[in-house]
C-alpha cells in the first residue's frame, strides 16, 4: 500500500530495536550505531506532503506526511538516538536499549503521523516502550514505572476519547490545526499536555525519570515531552491558555530544582522548566514564537542529553546521585566536567551556545506581540534557569567541596557521546543559520546583536552572583559590595521560599488526602473483589442457584410492569 518505494523511518528504528536481542558481540555495537544513522538518512529524504497511506477500519490513514516541522523534530530524535546509543554501548541490559529504540522509533512515527489514529498508535507505543526503559533499571524503578505507566495510559485514554469524539463530531481523522473550542478537542489537548508534563500534572516526570538507569534517562529526556510539544505546535498553535500553563511549568521547574539535592532530579525539574518555555511559545502562536518553540526543542534535546550524559557518567563511575555526596570531581573527570559545563552554559542561553539562539526567539515572540508581563516573566525565568541548572548542577557535582571521590573518566564511547553533543551545542550557537534554515517558517531574526548579548550577559552575571551570595560558606570569602541589588534578591529569595513552603504544605496535604482516599478506595475494591471478597471467592452452589432464581424473577417482574 506504499505510494512510493520509501521506507518509514520509524519502522527502521522499531525493527532495529526488536531485533537487537538477537545480535551479540561486536556486531551489537555496530548495530546500535548504524540503525539511528539509517533512520536519520530516511528522515532527511521524507518528501513534503503525504507519502504513505493505508486504509484501516474503512478510514484512509496517512502514516507518513512530511513538512519542515515534522522533519525537524524527527531529525533531532534520530540524532538523540544516535548520541544516546553511543553513550549507552556499555549498557548490558539489552531490554533497555531495545525498548529505547522502539521508543525513539515511535516518537519519529508520531512526528510523521498525518492522522489522529496513526498518531495515537505511536503515542501508545511510546508509553509502553518508555515504561520498559524505566523498568529495565531493576527493582528500584518498579514503583515509579508503574506510576508512570498509569498516568500515561490515563493520558492515552483521554486522548482516545478526544479522538473518538472528534471523529464522531466532524467525521474526519486528519491531524491538522484545531482550536480548543469543543469538548473532544479539549480532551485531545489535555492528552497532549499530560505528556508535556504540564502543570498541575508535572510531577510524573521528576518522579519517574531519575529512577531510570544512567543511560535510560538520556533516552527518556528526549522524546515524550518533545513529541507533545510537536503535536501542540501542529495542532494548537496560538491557544492562549498554553501561555499561562507554560509559565507555570517554567516556575515550577525552577523552584523545585533549586531545592532539590539529587543531581538527576535537578535536571528532571529543569526539563519541565524548559518545556514550559516551548509551551509558552506555542501559546503565543506567531511565526516567530513557533519557530522559537521548534528551535528550542531541537537545541534542548541535545543539551539536555549532554547534561544527563555528564550526570550519567558520574552516576556510572561513582554510583552516587546526591549533590551532598558529590563534589570536587573536576580533578579526575576533566572531560566530563567540561562537557557538563558546556551543557550548563547552553541551557542558560550563554552566547555562542545553542540555547542562546533558540530561547531568545521565544522571548522575542512575546516582545513582538507586546506581551509585557509574559516577556518580563520569561526574562526572570531565564535568570532562574541559570541558577538551578547553569550553576547549581556543575558547581555541586564537579566543584564545591572535595568529597574525596576520585573516579576516573568514563569509557571512551561515553566521552565521545558527550563531546559530540558539546560540539553540536557550540556549533549551533556559532552557526545558528544551520538550524534556522530547517525551521517551519522563514526566519527573520538575528540573535547576535550587541544589546541582546549584553542584556543576556548581565542577566547571567547577576543571577550567578546571586547564587554565590546564597552559598553560606562562600559568603564569607566573597568580597563583593552588597548594594540594593542584594536586598531584592534576598527578599526575592525569601518570597520564593515562603511561596515554596506554602505550595509544599498545600501539596503535602492534598497528596496525603488524595493518597489516603485512593488507598481507602483500593482497600474497598479489594474487600469486594479480592480473593476473599464477595466477587472473588467461590460461592456455595445454593447461592448460585438462588441468584439465578432472583434474576429470573427480576426479569419477569420488570417485563410485566
Amino acid at each position: 500500500m506504499m505510494t512510493s518505494t520509501f521506507v518509514q523511518p520509524a519502522l527502521v528504528l522499531i525493527a532495529g530495536g526488536l531485533l537487537l536481542p538477537l545480535i551479540r558481540g561486536a556486531l551489537r555495537s555496530a548495530w546500535l550505531l548504524v540503525i539511528p544513522l539509517i533512520a536519520a538518512y530516511l528522515v532527511a529524504i521524507v518528501p513534503d506532503g503525504t507519502a504513505v497511506t493505508t486504509s484501516f477500519l474503512g478510514q484512509q490513514l496517512t502514516i507518513v506526511k512530511g513538512d519542515n516541522l515534522s522533519r525537524l523534530f524527527a531529525m533531532v530524535f534520530a540524532i538523540a538516538t544516535f548520541a544516546g546509543a553511543l553513550f549507552a554501548l556499555n549498557q548490558r541490559r539489552t531490554s533497555e536499549l531495545s525498548a529505547a529504540f522502539v521508543y525513539a522509533g515511535s516518537a519519529i512515527g508520531a512526528c510523521f503521523a498525518g492522522d489522529l489514529i496513526s498518531l495515537f498508535v505511536f503515542w501508545e507505543a511510546m508509553a509502553i516502550a518508555s515504561t520498559i526503559v524505566l523498568w529495565s533499571n531493576g527493582p528500584n524503578a518498579r514503583g515509579a514505572g508503574l506510576r508512570y505507566a498509569a498516568l500515561h495510559f490515563l493520558g492515552g485514554t483521554i486522548l482516545m476519547a478526544g479522538i473518538a469524539g472528534e471523529f464522531a463530531a466532524t467525521g474526519s481523522l486528519a491531524f491538522d490545526r484545531m482550536d480548543a473550542s469543543t469538548t473532544p478537542r479539549c480532551l485531545i489537548l489535555a492528552g497532549f499536555l499530560i505528556n508535556a508534563a504540564a502543570t498541575p500534572l508535572s510531577a510524573w516526570l521528576p518522579d519517574a525519570y531519575p529512577e531510570a538507569s544512567w543511560s535510560g534517562m538520556v533516552f527518556l529526556s528526549a522524546f515524550t515531552t518533545k513529541t507533545a510539544v510537536y503535536v501542540m505546535i501542529r495542532g494548537f498553535p496560538g491557544t492562549e491558555i498554553l501561555i499561562w500553563i507554560g509559565l507555570a511549568m517554567v516556575f515550577y521547574g525552577i523552584v523545585y530544582a533549586i531545592l532539590e539535592n539529587d543531581m538527576r532530579r535537578i535536571l528532571a525539574y529543569s526539563i519541565v522548566n524548559q518545556v514550559g518555555f516551548m509551551v509558552v511559545g506555542v501559546g503565543i502562536g506567531t511565526e516567530m514564537a513557533l519557530n522559537g518553540a521548534s528551535a528550542h526543542a531541537f537545541t534542548h534535546i541535545i543539551y539536555k542529553a549532554l547534561l544527563l550524559m555528564s550526570a550519567g557518567s558520574v552516576l556510572y563511575m561513582t554510583g552516587m546521585r546526591k549533590c551532598t555526596d558529590l563534589g570536587g570531581l573536576f580533578r579526575t573527570m576533566p572531560v566530563t566536567t567540561t562537557c557538563g559545563i558546556i551543557g550548563a552554559l547552553s541551557i542558560s542561553s550563554f552566547p555562542l551556545t545553542s540555547g542562546f539562539v533558540s530561547k531568545s526567539m521565544v522571548i522575542e515572540g512575546a516582545a513582538q506581540e507586546h506581551m509585557k508581563i509574559v516577556w518580563l516573566l520569561l526574562q526572570a525565568a531565564s535568570a532562574g534557569v541559570f541558577l538551578h541548572a547553569g550553576i547549581k548542577f556543575p558547581w555541586f557535582v564537579f566543584f564545591q567541596k572535595d568529597s574525596g571521590l576520585r573516579p576516573s573518566e568514563p569509557p571512551w564511547n561515553m566521552r565521545a557521546a558527550m563531546i559530540l553533543c558539546s560540539a553540536l551545542c557550540i556549533g549551533l550557537g556559532v552557526m545558528p543559520q544551520l538550524l534556522y534554515a530547517q525551521l517551519p517558517f522563514k526566519v527573520d531574526y538575528a540573535p547576535y546583536t550587541t544589546s541582546h548579548i549584553i542584556g543576556q550577559l548581565q542577566l547571567l552575571l547577576f543571577s550567578g552572583l546571586a547564587f554565590f551570595l546564597m552559598l553560606d560558606l562562600l559568603k564569607r570569602t566573597m568580597t563583593i559590595t552588597l548594594d540594593v541589588d542584594w536586598l531584592w534578591r534576598r527578599l526575592g529569595w525569601n518570597v520564593l521560599s515562603w511561596f515554596d513552603t506554602m505550595v509544599g504544605r498545600w501539596w503535602a496535604i492534598t497528596t496525603r488526602k488524595v493518597s489516603a482516599a485512593s488507598l481507602t478506595a483500593l482497600a474497598r475494591i479489594q474487600q469486594y473483589h479480592g480473593q476473599g471478597g464477595m466477587f472473588g471467592r467461590t460461592w456455595p452452589t445454593g447461592t448460585m442457584a438462588f441468584w439465578m432464581t432472583v434474576m429470573l424473577g427480576a426479569f419477569l417482574i420488570l417485563a410485566y410492569i
Binding site: S95, F153, A161, L552, L556, A559
Partner: protein, 498 residues
C-alpha cells in the same frame, strides 16, 4: 466431493461424534489422540468449506435430517453467522490438537487419556450441534451433550478442587438447561412448533393474548443461556471451572464454549423473538447494559487481585463476555459487528494466553503469578506469545482486541451513548493492570529456584501458540475477513429485527 456436498451442514457434527465413538475404543492415549487429531482437522476443513458456501450463496443453507420435511423433521440451517461460529469452534479445536498431545500426557493419568479425547470430541460435537441446528429441541439435546462432556473434562483436572468445580457447574448448568427447556416448552405451547425459523414466523402472527407466555419464555431462555455464557452475576461457576480443569480443556472451553452460548443468545434475541415481539418492548437492552458494564468492571477488578494466573484469565474472560453482551445490547450494526468479531478475536487471544499458561504448567507444574518470576528469560517464546495476546486483551491498537473495541465504541457513539466509550476504555485500563502484573513478574524479577531449569516447551506445543499469537496481530491489521464476515452476520441478525 460432489457426493458429500449436499450433506455439508451436518458433517461438522457427525465427524467429531464418530471420532468420539471411535476413540473410546482405544486404551492408549496416543491412539485416541491420533483419532481426535484427524477428526478435528477434518471437521475444521468441512466447516470452513461450509462457511465459504454460506458466504457464496448469501442465503441460509437448509438441510433436512433423514429427509423429514421441515416443521416436523429436524432442520440444519446454516447462514453466515452460525457458519462463522462453527468454523471458529472447529478451527480452534483443531489448532489446539498438536499442543494437546504433550500437555495431556503430562497432566492426565495414562489410563484415562483416551477418555479425555473422547470427551473433547463429544464436547465439540455438542457445541457444533447447538451452532448448526435449526431446531430448538435439538439445541437442548446438544446443549446437554456438550455440558455433560464439559463436566467430565473439568473433573479430570489434577487439583482436588477440580471435582468440586465440576460439581458446581453441573448443578447450575442443569438449572440453566432446565430453564432453557421450560422456555422452549412455553414457545411450543404458543406456536406448536420446534423449528426456530417456524417459531419465528408463527410468533409474528400470534394473537396478542399470547404475549404473556411469550415474554415468560423469553425470560427463561435468556437466564438459561446467560448462565451458559457466564454473564455477570451468573458467572460464578466459571473461574473455578477454568482454573482447575486440565490446561487443554481450559483452552478449548475458554475459546469456544461461551462463544457458542453467545451465538445461541443472538439467535433467540434477533432471529426468533426479534420478529415476534421486538426487543424494545421488554427491558432486555437495559438489563444487558447494566450486567455487561458490571461484568466489565467487577470481573476485571477481581482479575487484578487474583493470584492464580489461570483464575485471573478466567475472570478476564467474564469481563470480555461483558464487551460482547454490551454489543448485543446496543443492537445496531456497529455494535453487533463488534460483538461478533470479538467472538473470534477473544477466542484467539484467550486460547493463546491459556496455552502459554499451559506451557508454564507443563514445565513448572504451577501457575501462581508469583511462580512466573523470571520466566521472560527462561521461557522467552512462551512469555512473548503471552505478552502479544495480553496486549490484545488490553486492546492495544494493532492487535485484534482493538478492532472489537473500536466497533463497540462506534456502536455506542451511533446511539449517542458517550459514557459507554469511557467505560470501554477505562475497563481496558484495568486489563492493563492484570496483564501488566504478569509481565512485570515474568520480565523484571529474578527467577525462583524451581524456574531456573525451565525452558520453552517442545515445538509441537509452541507452534499452535505462535500461530494464534500471529493471528492476534494479523486480525488487528487486516480486518477484511474477520470484520467482513462479522458485518455480514450482523446484517443477517438485524434483518430479523424488521
Amino acid at each position: 466431493m460432489k457426493a458429500i456436498e449436499p450433506h455439508l451442514p451436518v458433517l461438522p457434527v457427525l465427524i467429531p461424534l464418530f471420532g468420539a465413538l471411535f476413540s473410546a475404543f482405544f486404551r492408549r492415549g496416543a491412539s485416541a489422540w491420533l483419532v481426535a487429531l484427524v477428526a478435528t482437522w477434518l471437521a475444521a476443513a468441512v466447516s470452513c468449506w461450509l462457511l465459504a458456501k454460506a458466504l457464496a450463496t448469501g442465503m441460509p443453507i437448509s438441510y433436512q435430517l433423514g429427509g423429514w420435511a421441515v416443521p416436523w423433521g429436524i432442520e440444519y440451517r446454516v447462514d453466515v453467522l452460525n457458519g462463522f461460529v462453527g468454523a471458529l469452534v472447529t478451527t480452534i479445536g483443531a489448532v489446539i490438537m498438536p499442543y494437546a498431545r504433550r500437555s495431556v500426557a503430562h497432566e492426565i493419568d495414562q489410563h484415562v487419556q483416551a477418555w479425555f479425547y473422547t470427551m473433547y470430541l463429544l464436547c465439540m460435537t455438542g457445541l457444533l450441534g447447538i451452532t448448526l441446528t435449526g431446531d430448538a429441541f435439538n439445541v437442548f439435546v446438544f446443549l446437554e451433550v456438550s455440558s455433560l462432556s464439559t463436566y467430565v473434562l473439568i473433573a479430570m483436572g489434577r487439583h482436588r478442587r477440580a471435582v468440586l468445580a465440576a460439581y458446581q457447574y453441573l448443578i447450575v448448568g442443569t438449572i440453566g438447561a432446565t430453564f432453557y427447556v421450560i422456555g422452549i416448552g412455553l414457545l411450543y405451547l404458543v406456536t406448536g412448533s420446534l423449528n426456530l425459523a417456524d417459531i419465528s414466523a408463527r410468533l409474528a402472527t400470534a394473537p396478542p393474548e399470547f404475549a404473556r407466555p411469550v415474554v415468560t419464555a423469553l425470560g427463561f431462555l435468556t437466564i438459561g443461556i446467560c448462565l451458559k455464557l457466564a454473564l455477570f452475576p451468573l458467572h460464578v461457576w466459571l473461574p473455578n471451572a477454568y482454573a482447575y480443569a486440565p490446561s487443554v480443556a481450559t483452552v478449548f472451553l475458554a475459546a469456544t464454549a461461551t462463544k457458542v452460548a453467545v451465538y445461541l443468545l443472538l439467535r433467540f434475541f434477533f432471529t426468533v423473538f426479534g420478529a415476534g415481539i421486538g426487543l424494545a418492548s421488554v427491558p432486555i437492552p437495559e438489563l444487558l447494559f447494566v450486567f455487561s458494564i458490571a461484568a466489565m468492571f467487577i470481573a476485571s477488578f477481581s482479575a487484578a487481585f487474583e493470584n492464580n494466573a489461570k483464575r485471573m484469565l478466567a475472570y478476564s474472560s467474564i469481563a470480555q463476555i461483558g464487551y460482547i453482551t454490551l454489543g448485543i445490547a446496543l443492537a445496531n450494526q456497529s455494535g453487533l459487528t463488534g460483538s461478533i468479531v470479538h467472538l473470534l478475536n477473544h477466542a484467539i487471544m484467550k486460547a493463546t494466553l491459556f496455552m502459554a499458561l499451559g506451557a508454564v504448567a507443563f514445565r513448572l507444574g504451577v501457575v501462581q503469578i508469583s511462580d512466573l518470576a523470571g520466566l521472560g528469560r527462561k521461557m522467552p517464546v512462551t512469555m512473548a506469545t503471552f505478552v502479544v495476546a495480553g496486549l490484545g486483551i488490553i486492546g492495544v491498537p494493532g492487535t485484534a482486541g482493538f478492532i472489537s473495541k473500536w466497533h463497540l465504541a462506534l456502536g455506542a457513539l451511533e446511539k449517542g451513548m458517550w459514557p459507554l466509550v469511557f467505560a470501554i476504555v477505562s475497563s481496558s485500563l484495568i486489563a492493563l493492570v492484570y496483564i501488566g502484573r504478569v509481565v512485570e513478574v515474568a520480565y523484571f524479577r529474578e527467577p525462583a529456584a524451581a524456574a531456573n531449569k525451565a525452558h520453552d516447551p517442545p515445538i509441537s506445543m509452541l507452534a499452535p501458540m505462535l500461530l494464534l499469537a500471529a493471528a492476534t496481530i494479523w486480525f488487528g491489521l487486516d480486518t477484511r475477513a474477520s470484520v467482513g464476515i462479522a458485518a455480514e452476520g450482523a446484517k443477517v441478525l438485524l434483518g430479523g429485527l424488521k
